[in-house]
Amino acid sequence: MSDAVVTIRGATKVFDVGADQTRALDGIDLDVGKGAFVSLIGPSGCGKSTLLRLIGDLTQPTAGQVQVNGKSAYQARIDRDYGIVFQSPVLFDWRTVEENVELPLEVGGVDKRKRAQRAQAMLALVELTGFEKRYPWQLSGGMQQRVAIARALSFEPAILLMDEPFGALDEMTRERLNLELLGIWRQTGTTIVFVTHSIPEAVFLSTKVVVMSARPGRIVDVIDVDLPQPRSDLTREDPRYFSFITRVRESLRGRVEGSSLRAAGS
C-alpha cells in the first residue's frame, strides 16, 4: 500500500450561499494507498461527501490540489478512473438490470459482445445472476444497490467512490452487503473510498478510518484499522473490533462536543 492512488494537499472548498460563505473543507491533506479501503466518517456537515466529490471531480476545490493516479482529478475522470455509488441506487427505470450495468461500457464505446460478458461477470460478482432481464423496480432496495455496485465496477475503475451506499438499507441487509463488498474488494483489488456515518461499518470495512469534524470540515484523526483480513462475521466479535469502535467514537466525540448540538445529534 505504498504508492498512493489519491493524493490531496491543502484542499479547501468554500460554498457561497447567498452572502454567506461556508467552509465545507479546510486544508485537507489525505493519501489513499493503492488497494486501500478508506472510510470517511464524521457528523453531518463535516464535508465528507464534498471530499468524496472532490476526489471524483464532481466538484472542484476552491484551493489546494487533488491528484488521482498521478493525474489531475479532471483527467482521471476523463480517463474513466472512477466508479461511483450513491446512497440511492440511481438506476435507470427504462433499462433492465443488465442494460444498467452495461451503461458505462456503452458510453465508453465497448462492443456489444464484450459488454454482455462484463455485465454477466459483474452480476455474478454481486450475486445477481438470473436477474439480468428484470427491471430495477422489480428488485428490493438491497438488490438495486448491488446492481449499482456492479455498474460502478463494470469498467474496472481504478477507484470506487461510495457515498453512504448502504445508508438507506435495513441493518441486516446492510451487514450482508458489507460482507459482500469486502469480498468484491478482495477479488477486484479496487481502491475504495467510502463515506459513512456508521462507526461499526467504518471499522468493519476499512483499512483506514478518516475522522472528520464540521464547520469547517477538517480531518481530526486517521486511524489504521489493522484487524486481520479477510474479515468475517467473527470480526464483529473480536475485542479489538470493539476497541477500534471506541477509538473512533472518542475521536468523533472529542471534536463534536465543542460543536453545536445539531452536529452531535446527527
Binding site: 464532481l58 472512477y82 440511492s88 440511481v90 435507470f92 427504462w94 458510453v107 465508453g108 423496480w137 469498467f155
Partner: protein
C-alpha cells in the same frame, strides 16, 4: 377482459348513455308529435338544435347533395384528408417542439430569450396566423399542416423542457463520471427520462392537431376536409341540422383515433416502465 376491450366497452356504454340522455331531454322538452305531447317546451331541445339520434344516424346514409354519394362516404373521405393534414402538423409540431426543448435545456440564454415568444405565440389566435401561412405557402395540404403544427408544438416544448430536466442530478453526475458526451447524456438519460412527459404532451398535441387542421382548412379555402364540410353544413344548418352533427361526430372520432394511436405507441415504447408508472 383485456384492457383495450374494457376501454372500448366503457366508451361504447358511455356513448349509449349520452344518446339516451339526449333523447330523454327531447322527450321532456322537445317538439310535440302526434303520439306524444312533451310536458315542457325547451328551446335547446327543438329538432333544429338537437336533431334526433336516428336523424343524425340517418344523415350518414343519405346523399349529402342531390345525386351525390352518401354523407357517410363524404365524411370518411374528408376525415382521411383532415387526418393526413393533422398528422403532418403533428409530426412537424412534435419535432419542432422537441427540438426547441432540447435547445432550451442546453442553453439557459436561449431559454430566457425565446420562451416568452413561445408562450406569446400561443396567445395569438390561429385564425390570425392562418391567412399569413396560406399566403406564404399557398393553399394546400402543407399550409394546413403548418397551421396545425402551430398548435401542437407548444405542449411538446413545455413538457419536453420539464422532462429533459427530470433526471435525478446524481444520474447526470454518474454520466459525468463516465466521461459521457452531451449527446450520450441526451440520448441515454435525458430523452428516455423525458419520454413519459413527452407522451402526455403528444396526446394533447394529437387532439390539438385535428383542431388545427380543421381550422386551418377554413382560410385556405380547402373543401375536401372536415373543416370544409363543417363550414358547408354550418351554412345549411337550417335545412339539415343532422349533417353538421354527423360532421361533428366524425371530427370527434378522428381526434379519438389519433389519441388512441399515440397511446398505443406509448404502451409499446414504454412497456418496460408501465409496471410502475401507468402513464
Amino acid at each position: 377482459m383485456p384492457q383495450v376491450a374494457r376501454n372500448a366497452l366503457s366508451f361504447a356504454l358511455f356513448a349509449i348513455g349520452i344518446a339516451v340522455v339526449w333523447e330523454v331531454v327531447k322527450l321532456l322538452g322537445g317538439e310535440p308529435t302526434d303520439a306524444w305531447q312533451p310536458p315542457f317546451q325547451w328551446k335547446i331541445a327543438t329538432d333544429l338544435n338537437m336533431p334526433h339520434i336516428w336523424d343524425i344516424g340517418g344523415a350518414f346514409v343519405e346523399p349529402a347533395q342531390r345525386n351525390g354519394p352518401v354523407l357517410g362516404a363524404v365524411l370518411v373521405d374528408a376525415a382521411v384528408f383532415t387526418f393526413r393534414e393533422a398528422f403532418g402538423g403533428f409530426v412537424i409540431g412534435a419535432l419542432l417542439g422537441l427540438g426547441l426543448a432540447i435547445v432550451f435545456v442546453h442553453s439557459p440564454f436561449l431559454e430566457r430569450a425565446l420562451v416568452p415568444y413561445v408562450v406569446a405565440s400561443q396567445t395569438v389566435p390561429i385564425i390570425a396566423i392562418a391567412p399569413v401561412v396560406v399566403i406564404w405557402l399557398q393553399a394546400g395540404w402543407l399550409s394546413v399542416a403548418v397551421i396545425s403544427a402551430y398548435l401542437t408544438f407548444f405542449p411538446v416544448t413545455i413538457a419536453g423542457i420539464r422532462g429533459l430536466r427530470s433526471p435525478d442530478p446524481r444520474a447526470l453526475e454518474l454520466m459525468r463520471s463516465y466521461a459521457a458526451s452531451r449527446r450520450d447524456v441526451l440520448v441515454k438519460v435525458r430523452l428516455p427520462a423525458a419520454a413519459p412527459y413527452l407522451f402526455t404532451a403528444l396526446k394533447v398535441a394529437a387532439t390539438a392537431s385535428v383542431v388545427g387542421a380543421i381550422i386551418g382548412e377554413l382560410p385556405s379555402g380547402i373543401r375536401d376536409g372536415l373543416g370544409g364540410a363543417i363550414l358547408n353544413f354550418n351554412q345549411y344548418y337550417i335545412s339539415g341540422p343532422a349533417k353538421l352533427w354527423a360532421a361533428i361526430i366524425v371530427a370527434a372520432l378522428v381526434g379519438i383515433a389519433f389519441f388512441v394511436l399515440v397511446r398505443g405507441a406509448e404502451i409499446v415504447l414504454l412497456r418496460g416502465r408501465l409496471g410502475r408508472t401507468q402513464a
